[in-house]
Symmetry: C2
Subunit: 421 residues, 2 copies
């Protein structure tokens, strides 16, 4: 059994000038890791011949599998395919099955046969030294090259096309070619305690971890995920991971949100689904983001039927029945206002639970009394509404995200401590 290593090369000026965030690398890393491949290096280079060549040389020396994304589009700024052809000592030939597939896409899927141009046809050209990996979702095929015992796989940078090629071909190819060690992960999510304090709590356990098990602290949104990674023979590593994970869960029990690697919105969704309860939202400062998080989970219609975005005071009053006097006396960002928003939404939407938020997300709108980042959250049911003031010191985007995640966590705690409604 060998340790199989991989490198990822992403090609494209748009990555280096920061116009595009690289989500492909994270997805590929995650998936490869799951099947036991250790991604040890990732590199991003621009559309520059020498830089691409150099990356191929270097990563080819470093890793067993080299995955390359980007640079395969139909337009003139793409130089990757000719370069790969030259690098692996081939010449470009028309690949008939790919040409038929491109034609099929234009005629049957895009329904625009007339839009197929010479440059689209050229996407069916491949180096004669590669194995073509069919791209069901687009016109640029994947290409597999071998050199000095190393495998190079080039794929387009469009995320769902790359993911399709990986699922349709690459994982299977890797599984067939290598006998791999097991890489296992266990991740839990904690809330309410910082990274340092958690580290203190689990210090002696951490020091006694076997050498093939690693612990990582992943702080995010004011919460901390703890991840155990183990590598080795499958049964042994799974057994050891389970044992250590159980110990860890006991140690952080008081702050444990979930022992699965799922986000807060999914934790709350599962809880509601298990109880057969419905939640609604009344959002001011988060502007629909909490509803979006809830509905981004498939099957969320089981516990979310709708919500109100009451961004302006007019809507808070008109739709949710918040009293004008409450807003003028306490302000739109107050315990009193979010309580009335919550009660109004419960009545309007006829649900079991409610989340209501009102705050100042920035960059403007703060005052000495209520600085930017001040948020009031209300969670509850028809019998009881609880409110909490939060304060985040970040930019608008992050303040919105933190408000949403923390509001969901407050609902979770409410449900767990107050029983079902």
């Amino acid at each position: 059994m060998q340790k199989v290593t991989a490198s990822i090369i992403t090609i494209g000026d748009e990555l280096l000038i920061g116009q595009v965030i690289d989500t492909n690398s994270a997805w590929m890393s995650q998936q490869l890791n799951n099947i036991g491949v250790w991604v040890q290096h990732r590199v991003a280079v621009g559309d520059v011949r020498n830089d691409i060549r150099h990356a191929l040389d270097e990563e080819g020396r470093r890793s067993d599998i080299i995955l390359i994304t980007g640079g395969l589009g139909p337009t003139a700024d793409d130089i990757t395919k000719p370069l790969l052809c030259e690098y692996f000592g081939g010449r470009l030939i028309m690949h008939q099955p790919t040409l038929e597939h491109v034609t099929y896409l234009f005629e049957q899927v895009f329904k625009r046969p007339g839009a197929m141009l010479e440059r689209n046809k050229k996407q069916a050209e491949v180096p004669d030294v590669c194995t073509v990996l069919k791209n069901e979702r687009g016109t640029a095929p994947g290409m597999l090259f071998e050199k000095d015992g190393k495998v190079f796989i080039s794929m387009p940078g469009v995320p769902h096309e790359m993911q399709g090629i990986m699922k349709d071909h690459v994982f299977e190819l890797i599984r067939k070619r290598y006998s791999m060690p097991r890489i296992g992960h266990r991740t839990l999510l904690t809330a309410g305690q910082g990274e340092s304090m958690l580290a203190e709590m689990i210090q002696s356990w951490e020091a006694a971890l076997p050498t093939n098990i690693k612990l990582a602290y992943l702080p995010n949104y004011g919460m901390v995920r703890l991840r155990l990674t183990g590598m080795g023979e499958k049964e042994q590593v799974e057994h050891e991971l389970n044992k250590q994970f159980d110990l860890l869960k006991q140690l952080v029990h008081a702050y444990l949100v979930t022992d699965e690697d799922i986000p807060m919105n999914e934790v709350v969704g599962r809880l509601l689904k298990a109880l057969g309860k419905i939640v609604t939202t009344a959002e001011s400062c988060t502007g629909g983001y909490i509803a979006h998080l809830l509905t981004s989970i498939p099957g969320s219609s089981a516990y979310f039927h709708g919500g109100v975005v009451s961004y302006d005071n007019r809507i808070k009053q008109h739709l949710l029945g918040v009293k004008a006097a409450t807003i003028s006396r306490y302000g739109a960002v107050s315990a009193e206002t979010v309580t009335e928003m919550a009660n109004g939404a419960l009545a309007l939407m006829q649900t079991d639970y409610v989340i209501a938020v009102s705050g100042i997300m920035g960059p403007d709108g703060g005052s000495e009394d209520k600085p930017v980042g001040t948020v009031w959250v209300a969670v509850g049911n028809k019998d009881r509404i609880e409110t909490k003031k939060l304060w985040f010191r970040f930019d608008r985007k992050r303040n919105i995200e933190l408000t949403a995640i923390n509001a969901l966590n407050l609902l979770r705690i409410f449900i767990l401590t107050n029983g079902s409604a």
Copy 2:
């Protein structure tokens, strides 16, 4: 005048197993590019001594400025600081101003003086060979090292802390140290035409571009951004970019959405603001995401007062007045239903414009007649509602995003072609 180059090294196993998406690199690249630094290489390595060392060696040879993020947290999985200390030939000493800052944060900002542990104090230790860059937003300071004429800057991986150190110190340091060529960008957004067709339309113009101006095609959300990048002496490059950008705008005029590098939600927001008009949203399948996009722009309260997430038919009927007969005859995903949703939302929210969407985002819920990805969008005002059927062939997340962006674009076109309400 020299070409100043930079490399970015990100450190952390969480990046290589794909548990975290690297947004730092994009932000750093963008900002550096703006001040004229050319980021030519990005590399991600795990928490592995040899890999970090090797990356420092390699990027130190390659670039003038090496920016390093990650690996500076207070917990045991961080090995970066001792390694940097060793690499640059120093020893760790307690940095008194940083210790005072960490103490201040725990006492005055976190309001938890008792939570300050030995491991937090250790964050104030720095190699005696570095220049400390104060981190106003966290406990781990930035550190600047020099070696063989190259500048290495190490920062924590928490995005807002890294960004703070860059803004407070790094940009100014770079500007003082180097005299840089101008790197300028011009970006426009098109909709309604594919990458290949655009390429045909601008072919001869593109072929005649001066060598210091590069064109890139950046397809996203079914739209295509075109970006010109120029490098050289400031006045000359700005002049040439303006000239070429004007030509490009004329060529793609029929498909031009905006000639600024802003997203669709901001384009629509600016249009509404300029007209002094208000929009509301009635969202089924997008579950609040359109409202979120609108309100993620600062100042959006000028044109968005609120919206309804009517995820379930019950809410569509009860709150928006969609007739039960309409849903049972045509289905919830139909021109008829989104038209009634739109009219209901206009009446409920008393706004000038409305966007209503209903569709099947997947993975389940599709039928032969209405497969996953089918969406009906309605946009309009009290005088006129227009509907359009869309179909996306992607996963839930991407279907939601595409629906939202395209619905906003349909509203934009409605406003431009129907005049103000």
